[in-house]
Subunit: 123 residues, 2 copies
């Protein structure tokens, strides 16, 4: 399958789950996964999803502007770089963000998120 | 050496070369390196530096806001995620950008840029 297609399918899948069933993101991370969220470091699926489900907003809607992808090297991983914005309830203006994912293949052959770095882009 | 220190040293080094001697960036890429610059894909040190040295502006000054890093997996690589802005000559406002690098160790043990994805953050 084309890496670009995999990246776009992953991005659609990830943010749909984030916006509709955030605890379901647990299935996309593993014990060795890492998240850096606005500079805060979390390790392991449980801690990562704990962080994502305890953010101050209960609802949000991601709108994706760009998706770039590259193969990450000999290990068969894939880098996915996303820019977009998040609409939060009660906020007039959406928040712009950039996020990168490093996807690796699990022993079952599925891609999972090994690395995740998120930053809001302050105007 | 601490990954955070390596990442910060790399970022300082990279943007100092970019701002003062852009052709010198060739030493930081290898034949297998990839750059996606505002969606345009380039492969190999020569093509990458050809792109970077032919951008419309001859001078610029990068100002770095955030540097995040994570180890990328079993291969000993490192992911570096940067946000900041670029001041171009004659422009009143700096341009905000996000950029990610995947650094791998060469056979000589030095880190080089295997993956580079750059996006301007439009306001």
């Amino acid at each position: 399958m084309d890496p670009e297609q995999i990246a776009k399918a992953f991005v659609d899948h990830y943010y749909t789950i984030f916006d509709t069933n955030r605890p379901g993101l647990a299935s996309l991370y593993q014990d060795g996964s890492m998240l850096t969220f606005e500079g805060q470091k979390l390790a392991g699926a449980q801690a990562i999803v704990g962080k994502l489900t305890s953010l101050a907003f209960q609802q949000c809607k991601h709108n994706i502007s760009t998706v770039d992808c590259q193969l990450s090297g000999p290990g068969g991983g894939m880098l996915v770089f996303v820019s977009g914005n998040m609409q939060l309830p009660g906020e007039e203006h959406p928040l712009k963000f950039s996020q990168m994912f490093h996807l690796l293949q699990s022993s079952q052959g599925n891609f999972y998120v090994h690395n995740d770095i998120f930053r809001l882009n302050y105007a």
